[in-house]
């Protein structure tokens, strides 16, 4: 991916790359449709680039009175393992089961 040109500069390969990063499987036809839709949306949000932000700090959190909250190191009862595993699609004993990572 090259320079940050919004909209029309977005290529099918860009979208394929982003979809792979997001782990969302897509067919070529879906990728092409998504390219067109994302190009429209990038055109919409490009408006921010018209605002002069020289010397302006970013805002990540809009309310000022909460900073780096830490809880006290107190022991509490955790959620029981059976509750944690309640919705597991695949399980083995008290573990979530995944597909094999290596072939």
């Amino acid at each position: 991916m090259a320079s940050p040109e919004p909209g029309s500069a977005l290529t099918l390969d860009d979208v394929r790359h982003i979809a792979a990063l997001c782990r969302i499987g897509m067919t070529d036809a879906e990728l092409e449709r998504m390219r067109a839709e994302l190009a429209d949306l990038l055109g919409e949000v490009a408006f921010v680039q018209s605002v002069d932000t020289t010397g302006i700090d970013p805002t990540g959190h809009a309310v000022d009175n909460v900073h780096s909250v830490m809880r006290d190191d107190e022991a509490t009862d955790p959620m029981p393992a059976e509750d944690v595993l309640l919705n597991a699609p695949l399980r083995e004993g008290v573990y979530f089961r995944t597909r094999s990572v290596l072939d």
């Binding site: 940050p4 782990r23 969302i24 809009a62 979530f96």
Partner: protein, 487 residues
């Protein structure tokens, strides 16, 4: 009583319960009858929790008999289906969570059930709260009770429609970029988006964490204050929760608006705003002026025009991170046919998420990716600072700011589904509020061609009492709360 039971306000229901003129069991029964009567036409619910409600109503009646009832004991409610309630489905209107059963309670939900409110069921919404019409629900269609050819708004379309149709006394919605206020306006009910951090987000399925807030959707302003009383306050389980006690939001409701300084944000009365919606909002502000408010009709927030663009960078960016958790391993939909870990992940997310959710995940990942981060995400956070400052400066001159709640009344089903950019524009009046983290309320201010429209009042951080005070003064001067949809 002239009104059917299900159209009493939550406060009136509570009074009748406390006077023992009515039992919680009878009241929830009346609501289930109402749901059976109109739900085919409205479609406000994704699930109805009948057995739980019967148990909760019985417990409420015991509390009422013992004299230990709280203000909402026995009052029936709906919760948007992105709020966890232990042992019930919490689907977010997504195939991804269609079979998910919550193993714990959201703090706001627990506050209400702890106060004795009765859960009737969970409300339809746009999938993962991403949308403005509830048409992005993968699990059902909700229609506007005032005109079944039209959308209820979104993303909290189910809660808004349920409250308007008498299918619940009140509801909780969530508002990331207008998702309480816009459907409230479209359905003719009151909707409050509280200050960011006033209501705990613990147990609310995350969409965009720096913007999401839970809030009440009610038929009256007093009900809004009563529900806010129950859910506001510090929660150690939400690290962004404001560590301060919340006041009694009903205390100043009838204090009036004499001397209150209201700025009318002229940027939201022109281009892109239907003249009839603008006129209704102006007339409402005129009423406040006649009651003694000091109104400046020429207030302006020029930088808030960038809020929609800021929103459609920040919200998708945060959503791309939050929704990375749906991997088909821990909970939720899983494609168990696919071969190997990566193929299973890609198939699970392809099949589990709908089109709008995928668009936002990809848009956010793009805005955060190497080479684009500075131009999109960082830039949006800087413009967010400019918008916040603009509001802060405005609130040095005004106690409240006023706009129409929405650019138009409810639009037709299918009218905007093919054009995401046009759909996004229906939240243009609401989004700046989330960007700045401030509170805002939408209160019904009349009808345009038989469809409800709303007045939006915005205030500085933690100004909910003043917002509700002004909204109440206006509401009491109008007949709108007595109007009900033709069902």
């Amino acid at each position: 009583m002239a009104e059917p039971l299900y159209y009493l306000s939550a406060g009136e229901m509570s009074d009748a319960l406390q006077r023992r003129e009515l039992s919680a069991a009878e009241l929830s029964e009346a609501h289930f009858d109402r749901i059976a009567e109109v739900e085919d036409e409205v479609g406000a619910y994704l699930s109805v929790t009948t057995n739980l409600a019967i148990d909760q109503a019985r417990a409420a009646d015991a509390r009422l008999a013992a004299g230990t009832a709280a203000p909402l004991t026995g009052v029936p409610m709906q919760l948007k289906d992105n709020l966890n309630v232990r042992g019930t489905a919490t689907t977010c209107a997504s195939r991804m969570l269609e079979t998910y059963v919550a193993p714990y309670d959201a703090t706001a939900a627990a506050a209400l059930t702890g106060a004795g409110a009765v859960l009737l069921g969970k409300g339809n919404m746009d999938e993962f709260a991403m949308g403005s019409s509830t048409e992005n629900s993968a699990l059902g269609v909700t229609r506007n009770p005032w005109d079944r050819e039209r959308v209820p708004g979104g993303s909290s379309g189910g809660p808004a429609a349920a409250v308007a149709a008498g299918e619940a006394a009140f509801a909780l919605g969530s508002d990331t970029g207008g998702s309480i206020r816009q459907p409230a306006a479209f359905c003719g009910v009151v909707g409050l988006k509280p200050t960011y951090g006033l209501v705990s987000r613990y147990g609310l399925v995350a969409f965009a964490s720096s913007l999401d807030q839970i809030g009440p959707m009610t038929r009256t302003v007093r009900d809004c204050a009563i529900v806010l009383n129950a859910i506001a306050g510090h929660d150690p389980k939400d690290s962004t929760s404001i560590p301060a006690p919340a006041p009694d939001y009903t205390a100043r409701l009838d204090a009036g608006v004499e001397g209150m300084r209201i700025g009318v944000v002229r940027d939201y009365f022109g281009e892109g705003i239907a003249p009839e919606a603008a006129r209704a909002a102006r007339e409402a502000i005129g009423s406040l002026e006649s009651m003694g408010a000091q109104v400046d009709w020429e207030a302006s927030l020029p930088n808030s025009r960038a809020a929609l663009a800021v929103y459609y960078i920040i919200a998708p960016s945060e959503c791309s991170a939050n929704l990375a958790r749906y991997d088909g391993v821990k909970y939720g939909y899983s494609d168990t046919e696919a071969d190997g870990l990566w193929a299973a992940l890609e198939a699970t997310r392809r099949e589990g998420f709908g089109a709008e959710v995928k668009r936002r995940i990809l848009l956010g990942a793009y805005a955060l990716s190497a080479g684009y981060y500075d131009a999109y995400y960082l830039k949006a956070l800087q413009v967010r600072t400019i918008i916040r400052r603009e509001f802060a400066e405005a609130f040095e001159r005004y106690d409240l700011l006023a706009t129409p709640s929405t650019p138009t009344p409810a639009f037709k089903l299918g009218e905007k589904t093919a054009d995401p950019v046009a759909m996004h524009a229906s939240d243009v009046c609401n989004v700046p509020v989330n960007i700045a983290g401030i509170p805002a309320v939408s209160v019904p201010c009349g009808f345009v061609d038989g469809l409800p429209v709303g007045l939006q009042l915005m205030g500085p951080h933690l100004s909910e009492s003043a917002l509700l005070q002004a909204a109440y003064a206006y509401e009491q001067s109008t007949p709108w709360r007595d109007e009900h949809p033709p069902l």
